[in-house]
């Protein structure tokens, strides 16, 4: 009996580990971009000299980030925006530490590829983390000088999910106390106004 118990427990443990492995892999931190969106905007060929242009202009880059907001389909292509900031994996509502502004890149991508993206980030959603490969344009000729990446491929790194922002109980108590106080002061204001002022509604 004991001889069967030990291998059985080992088997169960292995099965559990195998089942949990994808989830654990999915939760593993995603390495930062190289280059990041900040580097794409900031890195000049010659520091301080605008005439020499931006270093990454015209180069093919692989870039990942949280799909944010929405997809805007324009014919066969579409605009998406990928944020590679501190809130890419977990936003403030989920308890992310405040770490500055959002930052990201506008991506011009074949509309067909965007069908893989299931969630776009907003207050109630953490968006799908998407990796694209394409050409970075410091000032895109096709798009009126916009800074963008023209993507040719797209793959999903991690699907998006719903975000719940529960109401903190202390906020409810504070709200009730303030409502009661405000109502009391409003009544006091009305009563003293009627008693003292002959000019109602001044």
């Amino acid at each position: 009996m004991r001889n069967r118990l030990v291998p059985g427990m080992l088997l169960v443990t292995m099965l559990f580990a195998l089942a949990a492995a994808p989830a654990m892999a999915a939760d593993a931190p995603i390495p930062p971009n190289n280059p990041t969106s900040t580097q794409l905007v900031n890195t000049q060929n010659v520091p301080g000299d605008i005439t020499k242009g931006l270093f990454w202009n015209g180069k093919t880059v692989t870039f990942h980030g949280e799909a944010i907001g929405e997809v805007m389909v324009r014919g066969d292509y579409a605009w998406i925006h990928l944020n590679d900031d501190a809130y890419m994996e977990k936003n403030v509502e989920e308890g992310a530490t405040l770490a500055g502004y959002n930052s990201g890149m506008a991506i011009w991508v074949p509309a067909e590829l965007t069908k893989q993206i299931d969630t776009y980030g907003d207050y109630k959603h953490e968006g799908t983390i998407v990796e694209i490969t394409g050409v970075f344009n410091a000032a895109c000729k096709e798009h009126g000088g916009d800074m963008d990446i023209h993507a040719t491929s797209l793959r999903i790194i991690r699907p998006g999910h719903l975000v719940v922002d529960p109401i903190a109980p202390w906020k409810v108590w504070l709200a009730l106390a303030l409502i009661a106080l405000a109502f009391g002061l409003w009544r006091l204001d009305r009563m003293t106004r009627n008693r003292i002022s002959p000019h109602r509604g001044v």
Binding site: V41, I50, M72, H81, K124, K141, L185, D189, I196
Partner: protein, 500 residues
Amino acid sequence: MIVRPRKEDHLVIGKYTGKVIVGVGLLMCIPLVTSIAFAEWDTAVDFIIAISACMVFGFGTQALCRTHKDLSWSHGLVVASGSWFFATALGALPHFLSGHAGSYLDTLFDVMSGYTTTGLYLLQDLDHVANGLNMWRHLLTYAGGQGIVVIALTFLFKGTAGAYKVYVGEGKDERLLPNVIQTARAIWLVSLTWLGLGTLFLGVRGMMLGQGPVRAFLQGLWVFMGAWSTGGFAPQSYNTFWFHDIGYEVICVVIFIAGSFNFAMHWAMWTGKREEIRKNVETISFFITLTVTTLVVTFFLAQANIYPDAMSLFRKVFYQLASAHTTTGFSTIYSRSFVTQWGPVGLIVTTIAMAIGASACSTGGGIKGIRMGVISKALVQDVRRMISPESSVIMEKYHHIKDTWLSDGLVRGAMTVTIAYLTLYGIGAIIGAMYGYPLEQAAFEMVSACSNTGLSCGITQPFMPDLLKVVYTLGMWLGRLEFMSVFALIGYGVAVVRGK
């Protein structure tokens, strides 16, 4: 001798400040309804707390400060600046409770930026904030553009001679109609008509660009509020760069240029005096300086070969410069692109456009077109005097609603305020430079804050020094109220402490 304010002075200031704060609380009902509509329950509770806090303050001060006395000029100025102070402190509650702000100082910065229609912000993870909070951010700037005192005048003050003094204290002095309450309502009539049309155009355009109807109209409403108030807030961290569309940009430009015009000129147009737009010294001044600044930046960026063709170059330069000159703060380039792509010339010329700013008695900030017009006319007058015979009398006039002859007093007034702005810009730039930022970037950021523009070259960050946050916040306040009201509040404080 400084005269210490009497009890009656405190009472009248407290009473009217309380009324304005009740108005702010009522305004918060709109984001509360938005939160409920989108089932953002935590945000809804944040707004209930903030509304209640405003009511406690408003009803509390009105109950405590019972008086029949009407407002004097000094009261009006103190009520205006004091109302802005308390409206900022209480209006910051939803930002703070949302958890997206690093500190209460950051929230004060954001709310002051909203009320003053500046558009700089320190809120973090903006792309994940609730619709309710976004509604509040944009409503702040829309209401601030008309003037929060104007709101209170419109809805809460029932005919008082002192109302005009609070109205002037908020940096507005045009009487469109004989009664100041009617004037405040006229401002709202114009603004709400534009709100309806602007939101419709932006919403429809948003849908054509691939946005869903709810999001298109909600964002259309917010972008309108940011544009009309020359505030520059946008619902996404990408600002108006989000839309990637020349049509959307054109609609925005039309709205923010219209928003930067004097309300008196809007009223003249509204009442059929269409020639006013051609003759007004402010529009003439605006179009001259906008043309010159656009040409200079276009020339230098063309030399540097930053943009791939003439159309892209003009589109980018005109949008940023028009946004800067109207003190809106919308942008279609990244903040750091002002440094890495536009360079020192682009930064300096944009700074000059922001420093000059929009029209007086509009939603915009800066030195203002009318002062530039008056000072330019005075310069022309002096040159003409120099080259004319001594016995000749040289007179200059300018047109703003009506023709006005230039007087020494008028020129002195324009120069005084201009010098005050330049001093403020200079002090802030030096403080920024002392923190190690390059001078042209420090000047850009300070001018942007004090002229209530909101463009950034990257200095404004949640982790920038606290003192710089305080300097920019005070700069926004001083710039929006055009100094006098804030000085009156400081004077009132000194009189309380040191008066006899």
